[in-house]
């Protein structure tokens, strides 16, 4: 108990937990839209593709400021998205193939650039490598400030364009027939999702970022049939696992933060898929059993004749 109390008073912990919680909240909201648009894996692609942007930003501006590096990440993530869309639109290659190719090539380019950076005298590349695995413990209060601003912008946009996003995500042809340009909405929403991914890189790294996007949304979907409730729940799940994951990694020695957060959110999704009322697997099994029982009581045979 005292351990928890002293942890709560620890400044570093407060910063890191706040950052992870914020990240969970933002990615929970944006992830809901990514999942509903069947673009779950785009997050994986974008986060891997951000690596060369980080390296190039460092090489060109020789600054290790998070803002500068993240700007590079944002640009290269967007460029990768653009490549994927172009390949799919102008050839017979399907989305999954284009995604796998672009993301691995960009990641490869990132590695090439990192090895190049290593050779630049007086440059310690440790600050760059943290983007691969993420290092929540390096979060500073100015990083939190940056995250809060991005988060605020994203959330306001979601509130402002709620009706449009809902319509577009559900039925983009119909949205067009009502006079809402799907092209503009697609661009705006994709941009917002990419931004959410980029601000999470520092905390959980390129490999695990996709989980932060997908998992809370899938968990939330199990509990409700309403979009607003799903988005709200998803952001709660994200925030809670961000904080709990950070706490666990501070209390247990040698437990890395990023993976710890991912395990937390995965536990939530497993519980949700199993136990969600009316939809979960346990409920399904219960209903199945009840039906059989009813059938038996009414004197029928359990084995329904097969045709």
């Amino acid at each position: 108990m005292t351990a928890i109390l002293s942890l709560l008073n620890d400044y570093t912990f407060q910063t890191v937990a706040l950052g992870s919680g914020l990240l969970g909240l933002i990615s929970g909201v944006m992830g809901s839209f990514a999942v509903l648009r069947k673009q779950s894996l785009l997050g994986d692609g974008v986060s891997h593709s951000a690596l060369p942007g980080v390296a190039i930003a460092f090489i060109l501006l020789s600054s290790k400021n998070t803002e500068v590096l993240l700007l590079g990440a944002l640009l290269s993530g967007l460029l990768a998205t653009l490549f994927i869309i172009t390949i799919v639109r102008h050839s017979r290659i399907k989305f999954d193939g284009a995604l796998a190719l672009v993301m691995s090539v960009f990641f490869g380019l990132g590695l090439v650039l990192l090895t190049y950076v290593q050779k630049i005298p007086n440059s310690n590349q440790a600050g760059l490598k943290r983007f691969i695995f993420g290092q929540a413990s390096t979060l500073l209060s100015r990083d939190i400030f940056l995250m809060s601003i991005c988060g605020f912008i994203l959330l306001s946009l979601v509130v402002l364009f709620w009706k449009e996003f809902k319509l577009f995500t559900f039925d983009s042809d119909y949205a067009k027939s009502l006079g809402f340009s799907p092209k503009k909405l697609n661009l705006l929403l994709s941009l917002m999702i990419v931004l959410a991914i980029i601000i999470g890189l520092q905390t959980v790294g390129v490999i695990l970022m996709s989980a932060m996007l997908i998992t809370p949304a899938v968990a939330a979907r199990q509990w409700t049939n309403k979009l607003w409730a799903m988005v709200f729940l998803s952001s709660c799940f994200g925030a809670v696992s961000g904080v709990v994951g950070t706490a666990a990694s501070s209390m247990i020695p040698k437990l890395p933060t990023g993976p710890s957060i991912v395990v937390c959110i995965s536990i939530i999704v497993i519980i949700s898929i199993l136990a969600a009322p009316g939809r979960g697997i346990l409920h399904r099994m219960y209903r199945h059993r009840k039906n059989r029982l009813l059938y038996k009581l009414e004197g029928g045979q359990i084995n329904v004749p097969t045709i």
């Binding site: 509903l36 069947k38 402002l160 364009f161 009706k163 449009e164 809902k166 319509l167 995500t169 559900f170 039925d171 042809d173 119909y174 949205a175 067009k176 027939s177 009502l178 006079g179 809402f180 979907r221 409700t224 049939n225 309403k226 979009l227 409730a229 799903m230």
Partner: protein, 252 residues
């Protein structure tokens, strides 16, 4: 031949559409009079859905123009106020977290435009149209928990909530039981009585004379278009349903 009807709801001029290398619609010239219930009939792959989508501006034609009541179809402001659309039912994600009420409310979004929220009047309208299609008891159901006929009614209600002048419906009777089909056609006739125009992509030739008063037969090109009693006969049907290849070949 009487050409007294001056008021056209939709005029299609010279419309040609192609998907990559494949021509789908050739030189469509079509006039749909106001206040009619019209069927678009033709064999599979004749371009019925494409015609509808091209009229709605959902895809870009190679050439041609579409006018609604003398307005170009590119006038988005006019479109979203006056055109209602019921897409083919398979086209959405049924597991989307939306209730019947949510989906029907979407019909009001066009009138609202960007950013503005639905008002009380919109919500009332939603309940009114739900009642009209007999789905008011299902308002809070998630859409995947409906039967095919019920899903179709919901999409019909969504179009009704648009309070449009012209309705486009892509096979509203697909996967629907006889009872719902009758209910839907009654509703469409009621809409027509209010002076509105309804265009329906239709499959079942037998019911055309019963349901519709205007018909367009297409197979890549318009074979015939006019009142059912004048146009819908054996000759035209044979022309429509004979193979697409010979049709194109004989013409060129």
């Amino acid at each position: 031949m009487s050409k007294d009807i001056i008021d056209y709801a939709v005029e299609v001029e010279d419309l040609t559409v192609a998907y990559d290398a494949k021509p789908v619609l050739w030189e469509i010239d079509l006039k749909i009079p106001k206040g009619q219930l019209m069927a678009v009939v033709g064999p599979n792959g004749a371009g019925k859905t494409t015609l509808m989508k091209a009229m709605l501006g959902l895809l870009t034609p190679v050439t041609g123009a579409v006018r609604f009541m003398d307005k170009e179809s590119k006038d988005i402001r006019f479109m979203k106020k006056h055109i209602g659309y019921v897409p083919q039912s398979g086209s959405v994600d049924w597991d989307f977290p939306a209730t019947v009420f949510d989906v029907v409310l979407m019909g009001c979004y066009g009138k609202l435009g960007w950013i503005r929220r639905p008002r009380k009047a919109d919500i009332e309208l939603t309940y009114t149209v739900l009642k009209k299609v007999g789905m008011e008891d299902y308002a809070l159901r998630q859409i995947s928990q409906l039967s095919g006929g019920q899903q179709q009614r919901v999409f019909l209600a969504r179009a009704l909530a648009q309070e449009a002048e012209i309705y486009f419906m892509d096979e509203p009777f697909k996967g629907v039981d006889v009872q719902t089909e009758k209910a839907i056609i009654l509703l469409l006739k009621e809409i027509k009585e209010q002076g509105k125009t309804v265009v329906v992509v239709h499959h079942d030739l037998q019911t055309v004379p019963d349901y519709f008063d205007w018909v367009t037969l297409i197979n890549l090109r318009v074979v015939a278009s006019g009142p059912v009693e004048e146009v819908f006969h054996e000759d035209n049907l044979q022309k429509t349903y004979k193979s697409t290849k010979t049709l194109l070949g004989s013409e060129v």
